[in-house]
């Protein structure tokens, strides 16, 4: 796992993906920080975190798009799958590499916090709560992106499909919001959709509620999709 993790980290930087990801992330989060926090004259970082959801949704597919699709396209997966390593090691090596880059990106909020601390009082609980919420949200999104990357040989396809899937998950919640007070059938749909919703779970944190079930939910999603990725690799062998 270590070898694959190190190689992927190296590849992020040699291919330039890391720079694009970090620059866009820092730029947009900086904008949100300036507009939502500094310019508004408040020290509450929740509005910034709330807006970051959309950015993560579109940036994480960039991070995960080539992780497995390129391996298959360039036939480098033959090297990995015939080496004495298990499928979980391969998948997790790649997963944690992407997660590490994401953590590097989101840890910029601590620099924002230092700036805030110079200007006023920072509510550290809210900051950490939101930080971890975003981390686990990212962990779940990366697993989804990695899974979609394992399904195709084309990294652009992987990126677009991942964005669409994440966007649909987000939208589904908005679409069924009217169903909350509808008939029985609509209520069931509402319940199902909102129980697998990412956005409202994430928003709980930005509203200052640290919800352990939501953390567990995100971790479960991450595990589930990594498991599915392993199954895809396994199945490709047998077909």
């Amino acid at each position: 796992m270590g070898a694959i993790y190190r190689r992927e980290m190296g590849a992020f930087f040699t291919s330039g993906v890391a720079y694009v990801f970090l620059v866009v992330f820092y730029f947009i989060s900086g904008l949100f920080f300036y507009n939502g926090v500094l310019a508004a004259g408040i020290t509450d970082v929740s509005p910034m975190f709330s807006s970051m959801f959309y950015i993560i949704m579109f940036l994480i597919p960039i991070l995960t798009m080539k992780l497995l699709s390129e391996e298959k396209k360039n036939k480098t997966d033959q090297g990995l799958l015939t080496a004495p390593v298990g499928l979980w090691e391969i998948v997790l090596g790649k997963y944690f590499a992407a997660l590490t880059l994401f953590i590097i990106a989101e840890s910029i909020v601590f620099i924002y916090a230092i700036i805030l601390a110079a200007l006023g009082d920072v509510v550290w609980q809210t900051l950490f709560g939101n930080y971890f919420a975003m981390l686990f949200l990212g962990a779940a999104f990366i697993a989804v992106g990695l899974f979609i990357s394992s399904l195709t040989e084309n990294q652009i396809t992987a990126a677009i499909v991942s964005m669409v899937v994440l966007f649909v998950i987000y939208l589904s919640e908005m679409l069924v919001s009217d169903f909350e007070n509808g008939n029985k059938f609509q209520k069931i749909i509402f319940k199902v959709v909102s129980s697998i919703a990412f956005y409202s779970r994430y928003n709980e944190f930005t509203n200052g509620v640290f919800s352990l079930p939501s953390i567990i939910f995100f971790i479960s999603v991450a595990f589930l999709f990594n498991f599915l990725t392993v199954r895809v690799l396994e199945k490709r062998r047998w077909s």
């Binding site: 070898a3 190689r7 480098t76 090297g79 990995l80 004495p84």
Partner: protein, 368 residues
């Protein structure tokens, strides 16, 4: 070292590999030969655990590749058809990655230096793989397979894309490796297989069509034993031709004699086919001695690997092609590419009726 039992791979309804079984002993170099799409690469991918078999078993050093993949794979170095190179890494970076991936315990620096020296890539270690030529990439692929000194090496068309010098280098490298490793290599370049391999398995349409050394295979698929003679008679006219043909026909063991062209003034060539059991060379000498003829040339023309390959891979289903190509093969053989197996008596086996008939008609046509 490697044991394959009843290996079968189906892609949907299509049978890619059909019930292949063979064994490779330690230190053996086995050549996989077959036309494109015969199932060579599929078999190799199953041997290395890249894809799984539909049924059957692969044992590497006694370990089943599907039951204990990690142990089995640790014993294999694999160079696939397309080397699995990460093109944006440097050669050094890539080899270090493979070293880590294979969890190699050998001293890193010394081992990688050894491998690079062996594959002659020491001078490009700092370069990015993307910028390397095909030949160098192939060698980096081979170096990758050699990391951790696996006892089994599986090389899928290792010389594809190399220039003649590099091909010779890689071949001698493989021969060298064959002393310490068990090697399976596939190719459709016949001289290569012949030059490098101890044993050959010919795969056709997903099945093992032949297994053994080139000579053994030749012996098994044919009982023809042919030679070309050039005999000088006393008169240097067509009279000689008739007399010599008739006399040769009467030699015990001779099945067929066909007078060929006049190669030198008044001297003819004779294609002689024996029954495969009798060595006629002694009686031939005696005959010529008695009659006062001179043998100017005697050339045994048994099947080359190329003939064997064509016979096996094109033989079934397309009889017309085989018949027409038969005389062409003879000419090729005469030109000097032959396997000398004069001491071995081919096994007795009846010629298929139609094939014998075809030979007859060919020969009759050529007599005039």
């Amino acid at each position: 070292m490697i044991e394959v039992r009843n290996l079968t791979k189906k892609y949907g309804e299509k049978l890619a590999v059909n019930d292949i079984s063979f064994r490779v002993e330690k230190g053996e170099i086995l050549g996989f030969l077959g036309p494109n799409g015969a199932g060579k690469s599929t078999t190799m991918n199953m041997l290395t655990g890249y894809i799984s078999s539909t049924s059957g078993q692969v044992l590497i050093d006694g370990v089943d590749i599907l039951e204990d993949p990690k142990t089995a794979k640790a014993n294999i170095g694999y160079l696939p058809e397309i080397p699995p190179l990460y093109v944006d890494m440097t050669v050094d970076g890539y080899l270090n990655f493979m070293y880590d991936l294979k969890k190699c315990k050998l001293p890193r620096k010394a081992h990688l230096t050894d491998v690079c020296d062996l594959c002659k890539i020491s001078d490009v270690r700092g370069r990015i793989i993307k910028n390397l030529s095909k030949g160098y990439r192939q060698r980096v692929g081979l170096a990758q397979a050699l990391i951790n000194n696996p006892p089994v090496l599986i090389l899928d068309e290792p010389t594809v894309g190399l220039d003649p010098n590099q091909i010779i280098e890689i071949r001698s490298l493989i021969k060298k490796l064959g002393k310490r490793h068990t090697v399976i290599l596939s190719s459709h370049i016949l001289p290569e297989i012949q030059a490098v391999c101890d044993r050959i398995i010919i795969i056709n349409k997903g099945q093992v069509a032949a297994d053994g050394t080139a000579d053994e295979i030749a012996k098994n698929i044919t009982n023809e034993h042919k030679m070309t003679l050039r005999i000088e008679g006393p008169t240097h006219t067509a009279e000689d031709k008739k007399a010599i043909t008739a006399a040769l026909r009467n030699l015990p063991g001779v099945k067929y004699v066909r007078a060929d062209m006049e190669r030198e003034r008044g001297i003819y060539d004779y294609d002689v086919e024996t029954d495969g059991k009798t060595d006629i060379r002694h009686s031939l000498n005696k005959l010529c001695n008695e009659k006062g003829w001179n043998i100017l040339m005697l050339q045994l023309s048994d099947l080359t690997l190329e003939d064997i390959f064509l016979k096996i891979t094109m033989g079934d289903g397309v009889p017309v092609v085989t018949e027409q190509s038969a005389p062409k093969l003879d000419i090729k053989v005469k030109d000097g590419e032959l396997i000398a197996s004069e001491k071995e008596e081919p096994a007795e086996e009846a010629l298929p009726e139609d094939e014998a008939a075809a030979d007859d008609s060919d020969n009759n046509g050529g007599e005039e």
